[in-house]
């Protein structure tokens, strides 16, 4: 592995004695789409929130481009080039699509305490370029509160790309979307990863999405990593079949 990727070592998190994440180790090299899967309660969200800085792990390290992320705030982690989308979209309902992206750009360019310029006029071109990227430019002037769910996901993606991230954390990127939209969104994600050379870590319930789009998959069960490998390897893993796919189809 290289210095440029993400390296998670011996990550542990317990809530009052209940172990949510147990000795988690994995690497994410640059340019890869890594899927994190597992049944409900496997510790996916906890891991995500640790990587994002919303939770502090009980022990362990998370190195990104050689920098220790544990102990940093979400804001600082973001400054290191980590973007994030949420399972339930988190956008600014009272702003337009374009303003949502501009907001992230304002933060990226450190203009948050600026009291003179009109915000809607700043970084508009950059924002439109990002929206172009995700195919939302024609809706740039609509309020986010009225968008279809799939479109919100795209807006989130554009927002997450605003700081030129080298790592994207996507929590259930296709949750709540129609099958056709899922394919479109993941194709878009694939395209962006290839164009920009960034890595993506995502969780996902939809196995079709996972096995079609992930370069590699890691499987969590009750906080422990139980399998890791290419989609092919994971698909054939006995353990995974038993604890995960088995229960999934039950």
């Amino acid at each position: 592995m290289t210095d440029m990727g993400l390296a998670v070592r011996s990550l542990e998190k317990s809530f009052g004695g209940v172990i949510a994440v147990n000795n988690l180790n994995f690497d994410l090299p640059v340019g890869q789409l890594l899927a994190l899967i597992g049944p409900n309660g496997a510790g996916k969200s906890t891991s995500f929130n640790i990587l994002n800085g919303q939770l502090k792990p009980t022990s362990g390290t998370v190195k990104f481009k050689g920098v220790e992320l544990v102990g940093l705030s979400p804001k600082e982690i973001w400054r290191h080039g980590v973007g994030r989308t949420f399972q339930i979209t988190a956008t600014y309902a009272s702003m337009t699509v374009c303003e949502n992206v501009q907001m992230a750009l304002l933060s990226y360019h450190r203009r948050l305490y600026s009291l003179l310029p009109i915000a809607a006029r700043l970084y508009r071109e950059e924002a439109l370029a990002l929206l172009e990227h995700v195919g939302m430019v024609d809706q740039e002037n609509r309020p986010c509160s009225v968008l279809a769910y799939g479109d919100l996901k795209r807006v989130e993606l554009a927002v997450a790309l605003a700081n030129n991230p080298t790592l994207l954390l996507m929590d259930e990127p296709t949750a709540g979307m129609a099958p056709k939209e899922r394919i479109e969104l993941m194709a878009l994600t694939n395209k962006i990863v290839n164009e920009r050379g960034i890595s993506v870590l995502f969780t996902e319930h939809d196995m079709d999405v996972v096995f079609t789009h992930a370069d590699r998959i890691i499987v969590l069960d009750r906080g422990t990593l139980v399998a890791e490998g290419t989609p092919e390897e994971v698909r054939n893993d006995e353990h995974v079949r038993r604890i995960y796919l088995g229960s999934h189809h039950a």
């Binding site: 988190a90 309902a93 304002l106 003179l116 809607a120």
Partner: protein, 617 residues
């Protein structure tokens, strides 16, 4: 020893009285999320009705029957209010119901004055409990013990109700998760009505039960409000055991506090509340609010657009009219318009924080009055000229807001609001108590503008410049990156943190900014009145501001100006009539029912298209 036991029991007895009233407020808030100001009025009504009934029904049983009957009667009045007014506006924006509960306060005040007359009615001792027993040589009034027993009965009864009945279980479920009620297929309307009855019944029970200790007077309603809010917040909103523990804590601290620090009577409970909220964000027994529980109810705001040409023209026309006003208007008209402008600025500063900022301040008078006091103190102690002292208002208020705001922005929703209230009351108590520095309740007088601003017209233009200027600055700021970032933190703190916004710091600076502008309003105020008194920092002033914002409409930027102007003007026109409170209270209720989006919100809905407002749904 006997002394300490009796002192403890005395504290317990006043805790009991407080608990009865506060538990009712807590139940109502827990289920309906309504901050019910009328609660104090129901407490007062309970006392008045019980006073009258006790005069008719004799004896030990007569007394207790009177107490129960008056509580029932008030409960029914509350149900009437809930069904006629509140039911129609549950869908209105957050806190809007607060205005609706303000109207009945005014009406009940005048009705009580009319029915029971102006004099304090001092209740007779409770029959059979008019003496004292002796505990280790120290006398202890029997009725205090009866009060303790009564609150124990109520506490037990509430426990049974909430744990052993279906209705009680539903109420508890609704307190924890409002969405659950509709999921359970319960008729939410009647659940709310029932809760209103129970809560108000308890308020009136508290009022009635203290008749033998105090009686009934026309100022009871406001006097009880602050303490019960404190109790509910310290205990944790919606928690009955919490309310009991908080009442006990406050009362015992109070009775023992006056032994060592007799002047502590004003400030103690607010200090306790501030400390508890800093250490335990949701009170002693409260639970964290689920995100969104205090959030935006109803449709989200529309994105901000610059004013259309028509709206700009209208604004210019109004400004033009204001500019030529001194040519033909009387001096008093100028005074009235100055009041409108100053209060508009104050309301706009609250709105800035509460609307786009998503932080409701129940204590913004601290910065309004704080600014005014900064000016007055610097003038009276250092004799600085007005040209310098004037700017101490925004500066001083900003400093105060930085201090208080640092704690407040680390809370959200109603707990943030209550922490602002606690700090404001602490600030008020300090100003009120520290007579050597601030003049105490005698205030500071003789703060007049420099001679070049001596005439009414000159100061009018000065006020217009800074008042309208301040409002424009507030509005303009909403369009800047700073304003956008503040709104971003309100819309989604989660998203904001993950795009590198330091939510706490952003909100903290917004809080200070709003405080500074409130302080500017305070500066303008002190020079227009020539004096400043602690009243301008009081709860009543904070609530006035809140009412103006809500009346005008939270979700419009013109709302605070419309609300403040309408309120000031109505107050002036109506307050020269007898029974003006009935009229003003009824008008407020009418406005609330007719314009649930506020006055400006109504106009926006009606005439928005005309002004080039786009709507996209």
């Amino acid at each position: 020893m006997g002394f300490y036991i009796v002192q403890f029991l005395t504290g317990l007895s006043s805790a009991s009285a407080l608990f009865l009233v506060a538990s009712g407020l807590s139940i109502i808030f827990g289920v309906t999320r309504i901050v019910n100001f009328t609660h104090g009025s129901f407490y007062m009504l309970g006392a008045f009705i019980a006073y009258s009934l006790v005069g008719v029904l004799d004896g030990f049983f007569g007394f207790w029957i009177s107490v129960i009957l008056s509580a029932m009667a008030v409960g029914l009045i509350a149900v009437l209010m809930e069904m006629l007014i509140l039911r129609r506006i549950y869908q209105a924006p957050e806190l809007f119901q607060l205005v609706a509960t303000f109207g009945p306060i005014l009406i009940i005040q005048d009705l009580a004055l009319d029915i029971w007359g102006p004099e304090d009615l001092f209740g007779a001792s409770a029959p059979g409990m008019d003496g004292a027993i002796t505990i280790m040589g120290t006398p202890m009034p029997e009725y205090d013990l009866a009060l303790i027993a009564l609150s124990a009965v109520v506490l037990g009864g509430l426990w049974l109700l909430f744990n052993k009945t279906r209705w009680g279980t539903l109420v508890r479920a609704a307190t924890e998760d409002r969405d659950m009620i509709s999921a359970l297929g319960v008729n939410q309307k009647w659940l709310f009505t029932g809760v209103f009855f129970l809560g108000s019944f308890l308020a009136a029970l508290g009022g009635a039960a203290q008749v033998p200790k105090g009686g009934a007077s026309l100022i009871m309603d406001f006097e009880i409000l602050a303490p019960i809010f404190v109790v509910v917040v310290i205990g944790g909103m919606g928690s009955i055991p919490g309310a009991f523990m908080a009442a006990l804590l406050i009362s015992e601290l109070n009775v023992f506090g006056i032994l060592v620090w007799p002047e502590s009577t004003l400030v103690l409970m607010f200090l306790v509340m501030a400390v508890v909220l800093i250490l335990r964000p949701w009170g002693l027994f409260g639970k964290p609010e689920a995100p969104g529980q205090h959030g935006q109810v109803g449709a989200p705001e529309q994105p901000y657009r610059p004013l259309s040409r028509k709206a700009n023209t209208l604004f210019a026309a109004v400004l033009g009219l204001l500019l030529v006003l001194p040519v033909f208007a009387s001096d008093f008209s100028l005074v009235l318009v100055m009041d409108m402008v100053v209060l508009s600025l104050f309301a706009a500063s609250i709105h800035f924080l509460m609307g786009p900022g998503g932080m409701v301040s129940f204590g913004h008078a601290a910065y309004f009055g704080g600014g005014a006091y900064a000016v007055a103190l610097i003038t009276s102690h250092f004799e600085l000229p007005m040209e310098v002292a004037f700017f101490m208002g925004p500066l001083g208020a900003c400093a105060l807001a930085l201090l208080f705001g640092w704690f407040c922005v680390r809370r959200s929703g109603v707990y943030l609001a209550m922490l602002t209230l606690a700090f404001a009351q602490v600030a008020w108590s300090v100003v009120f108590q520290w007579g050597e520095l601030t003049g105490g309740d005698d205030g500071i007088i003789g703060i007049w503008p420099s001679p070049w601003l001596g005439s009414k017209a000159a100061y009018y233009y000065f006020t217009l410049f800074f008042g309208v200027g301040g409002i424009m600055v507030l509005r303009r700021t909403l369009f800047t990156p700073f304003g956008y970032a503040m709104r971003a933190c309100r819309d989604s703190a989660l998203r904001s943190a993950s795009i590198g916004i330091d939510v706490n710091r952003q909100q903290w600076l917004a809080f200070a900014f709003s405080g500074a502008l409130a302080g500017l309003a305070g500066s303008l105020f002190v020079y227009s009145k020539g004096s400043i008194f602690p009243d301008e920092m009081s709860l009543a002033r904070s609530f006035d501001g809140l009412i103006m914002v809500l009346l005008g409409g939270v979700k419009t930027l013109a709302g605070p100006v419309a609300g403040a102007s309408a309120f000031t003007w109505l107050d002036d026109v109506i307050s020269r009539l007898d029974y003006w409170r009935v009229i003003l209270g009824s008008l407020i209720i009418l406005i609330v029912l007719a314009f649930p989006q506020g006055i400006a919100g109504f106009f926006r809905e009606r005439f928005g298209v005309w002004f080039g407002q786009e709507t996209d749904t």
